[in-house]
């Protein structure tokens, strides 16, 4: 099956809204029709054809060759199929995506996977702040699905997370999992200061924690069967990208006691 290919003509000088470019919405459209889609809301008006050379046929897959930190809302509301971006993306990539796969082979801007509801988002570079975070007025951040960031993340990753899994292979910024209400965040290089601040429920996992807050209580080490089940699930959904299995009994911190206090931080190296 050949993918629809969009090749960037020149680095864009203004922010583009790429939310119309998802396989579900492009299905059945001819190349000429796709070229006419507006991707800039301002009075100047820019279309896909102005910015990209379009080839292939619309189907389950979309391949964007070339990237820019001005590509906003890449894969927003994506539902089924695969989007690959060879390069960076800007703000709100994968926002409210329902299912399918979004593969970003570069860096992502702020609010990556904001209010994600399903599917898999993979970023080979780093991500900005507020990963999965809600927009103003919204109640939930990440609400399902899986996000894997190979590089680092900015502050407030997994803010107001409700459900789903976030795996960060690189370093995490401050206040990961702030005001979290559910779901799992794994920081493979360890958790930074402020992790889980104001969390109500949910799980943060990492080898170490930079500075333990006074509102988290050390509950000792535990043998948790659920970790084995979770590891099997990660391997099934993520394959090689799955976080390493947790061998020993992790130390469990409960908190944040300044909030509901039913959240947990699991530290796998003491």
């Amino acid at each position: 099956m050949s993918a629809l290919k969009l090749k960037l003509r020149a680095a864009p000088s203004r922010r583009l809204d790429l939310s119309p470019l998802i396989p579900g919405r492009l299905a059945g459209l001819s190349i000429a029709e796709i070229e006419k889609i507006a991707i800039y809301a301002g009075p100047e008006g820019l279309t896909v054809g102005d910015c990209f050379a379009v080839s292939g046929a619309a189907g389950d897959a979309l391949h964007i060759e070339g990237g820019s930190d001005k590509f906003d809302k890449v894969g927003a509301e994506h539902a089924g199929g695969e989007i690959i971006v060879d390069g960076d993306v800007g703000l709100y990539a994968g926002r409210r995506m329902k299912s399918g796969r979004l593969d970003i082979r570069g860096n992502a801007g702020d609010c990556l996977a904001s209010n994600l509801r399903g599917g898999i988002v993979i970023v080979s570079g780093s991500a900005g702040t507020h990963l999965g975070g809600p927009l103003a007025g919204e109640k939930d951040g990440l609400a399902g699905g899986t996000v894997v960031v190979m590089g680092d993340t900015g502050d407030l990753a997994g803010e107001r997370m409700r459900r789903g899994t976030l795996v960060v292979k690189g370093r995490m910024g401050r206040n990961a999992g702030a005001r979290m209400m559910g779901g799992t965040i794994i920081g493979e290089q360890g958790l930074s200061a402020g992790a889980g601040v104001q969390m109500r429920r949910g799980t943060l996992i990492g080898p170490s924690l930079e500075a333990q807050s006074a509102t988290f209580v050390d509950c000792g080490t535990h043998e948790l069967l659920i970790l084995t089940i979770m590891a099997a699930y990660w391997r099934r959904t993520l394959g090689d990208l799955a976080p390493p299995a947790i061998a020993s009994a992790p130390r469990r911190l409960m908190g944040d006691l300044s909030s509901l206090g039913k959240g947990e931080i699991l530290l796998t190296e003491g």
Binding site: A41, G42, L135, A136, G137
Partner: protein
């Protein structure tokens, strides 16, 4: 500069013109008699088109603190409806609570040339006027809210002389640059703070011992005797409560012939019949309105979709918080003198209650005979955003369309409404009364709402389409003070409207007792409380129009 509008079909109810082909001449912003042989600078050929005065919305929440709260609370409303910058217009956003600029543009693009903010509480007057100053294209004005403020309730409880109360009412009009007086849930907003959760017409306020009936009679008399043209603008007791039709009836009868305007009466016309204890009281209200010539109303039609209710009635808005959609709301006190409740609402056509509200509003429109005493409103944004007006006009003018829409609503609600049996269709003449001549006469706008000689050149030209919704949504031309501002439903010139105020005479001696009161209880000094003319005219952008008031009785 002389403009000639040639050959249009003119609907000008104030001058009794019903669809006659006429030429209209506008010289320097004012409509003039056909000049003998003057040179025409611009001529617009309007053959086959419909010409009316610019429309006037007598009740739309476009200023004051509650809109700002609505905007702060509903960022999704902004995100969902962004408006990009145009070559003349500035960017904006918002569906239910649009930004000020967007509201002004949208009104003008629909052929409206004047809008009135009905709930400006005196402590918020500065904010309200600033927001209205930021609303371009249209003339505006505001009604000052009294009736739950401490100073007035003390006066009433102490059985002060009516002259003193009149002075206070007139002082408020001057101090807040208002054109009329509004009362919201008379005494009820104050009673809410004394833990009362309802206040019926004859129920006593636990602290002051007064009843809403006292408030209504006193204020209505004061407004009448001061010679303010617009009668007391009443948002009655028990808004939205099933069975409130009784209260509305008692209010109409209890006014004893004093002039009164009952606003968004749809929300006050609910019975308690049927299995769900919710039914239409429209027929009962319409009968009383028809027989009481001292009463005028606006409807506050509900139309389906997402909106945001905003009212000074904190007591009733607190009761509505359970229906908030999305689930968030603000109910607050303001300076201990009034309240404010902002509750987002999504009216659904499949909901029995919402569908019946929709039907009740339309029943009222169709059952009240005299279009001079009923005005077309949705109580923006409480029943629906004002952008739904063209849709509402089509519902009133097109029985076939109305019946089609009825097929889509909750079948139980449709079955329990008499709407299907009402054959009335509004004519263009009646629509012109309801949206132009009527509000202008009621508000005392001397040179607005008609096309006679001496009227201001606020003129809207429509295409005569069978689809009335399309016709009223995109006027061909809109003139503001004789300048072409909208062409084909798009803004071609941005202008700034005037602010209309009423300034009845009063005895300035009242300031002595007010000054004492302000020093003792208020957070703001009396002199800072008052709005000066300069604040409205800011940098010469604004303009004040002082509408005449009758001699003090």
């Amino acid at each position: 500069m002389l403009i000639k509008l040639t050959g249009g079909k003119v609907y000008d109810p104030a001058n009794g013109i019903d669809g006659e082909i006429r030429d209209i001449y506008v010289r320097d912003g004012v409509i003039v008699a056909p000049p003998a042989d003057a040179r025409i600078d611009e001529e617009y050929s309007l053959h086959g088109r419909v010409v009316m005065a610019g429309a006037i919305d007598p009740h739309t929440h476009i200023g004051g603190g509650k809109m700002t709260i609505g905007r702060l609370m509903l960022p999704e409303d902004h995100r969902g409806d962004p408006v990009c910058r145009g070559h003349l217009t500035r960017a904006g956003c918002g569906h239910a609570v649009p930004s000020t600029l967007t509201a002004g543009y949208r009104y003008a693009e629909m052929g409206y040339t004047a809008c009135f903010e009905p709930a400006m509480l005196p402590a918020n007057a500065r904010q309200a006027h600033m927001e209205m100053a930021d609303t371009p294209m249209v003339d505006k004005g505001a009604f000052a809210m009294l009736g739950s403020d401490d100073f007035f309730l003390r006066q009433l409880a102490a059985e002060d002389d009516i002259e003193a109360i009149k002075d206070y009412v007139a002082w408020t009009l001057h101090a807040t640059q208002a054109i009329a007086i509004k009362v919201v849930n008379p005494g009820g907003i104050s009673a809410f703070k004394f833990n009362q959760r309802q206040l019926d017409l004859d129920e006593q306020h636990v602290h002051y011992g007064i009843t809403p009936r006292d408030v209504l009679l006193t204020l209505s008399r004061a407004v009448k005797e001061l010679g303010v043209t617009h009668p007391l603008h009443v948002h009655g007791c028990n808004l939205g409560v099933p069975g409130n039709v009784e209260t509305t009836e008692n209010t109409i009868i209890g006014m004893n012939g004093l002039p009164v305007h009952l606003t968004h009466i749809q929300f006050h016309s609910y019975g308690t019949e049927g299995d769900r204890k919710f039914s239409s009281g429209a027929a009962r209200v319409a009968e009383l309105v028809n027989s009481h010539k001292n009463v005028s109303i606006d409807v506050g039609q509900v139309l389906f979709g997402q909106t945001c209710t905003a009212s000074g009635d904190s007591m009733r808005q607190y009761g509505n918080t359970k229906s908030a959609n999305p689930k968030k709301w603000v109910v607050m006190d303001i300076e201990c003198d009034a309240g404010c409740g902002v509750v987002p609402m999504r009216y659904r056509d499949k909901s029995f209650v919402n569908a019946l509200q929709w039907a009740i509003g339309l029943e009222l429109f169709l059952l009240i005979d005299d279009p001079w005493r009923i005005f077309l409103t949705t109580d923006h944004p409480n029943g629906a955003p004002f952008t739904f007006y063209p849709h509402l006009i089509r519902l009133l003018m097109d029985k076939g369309f109305r019946n089609d829409m009825m097929q889509k609503i909750n079948p139980d609600a449709a079955a329990s409404s008499v709407l299907a049996s009402l054959d009335r269709e509004y004519t263009l003449y009646e629509v012109a009364i309801m949206t132009r001549a009527g509000p202008a006469r009621s508000l005392g706008l001397k040179n607005r709402g008609h096309l006679g000689v001496g009227a201001c050149g606020d003129i809207t030209v429509y295409q005569d389409l069978a689809d009335r919704e399309a016709m009223f949504a995109t006027p061909v031309f809109v003139f503001k003070n004789g300048e072409l501002v909208v062409k084909g439903g798009r803004i071609v010139k941005v202008v700034q409207g005037a602010t209309h105020v009423a300034r009845p005479d009063f005895d300035r001696g009242i300031e002595k007792s007010l000054r004492r009161y302000f020093e003792r209880y208020h957070t703001v000094g009396l002199d800072n409380f008052k709005l000066s003319d300069d604040e409205i005219i800011t940098d010469g952008r604004g303009r004040l129009v002082i509408q005449p008031t009758a001699a003090r009785a």
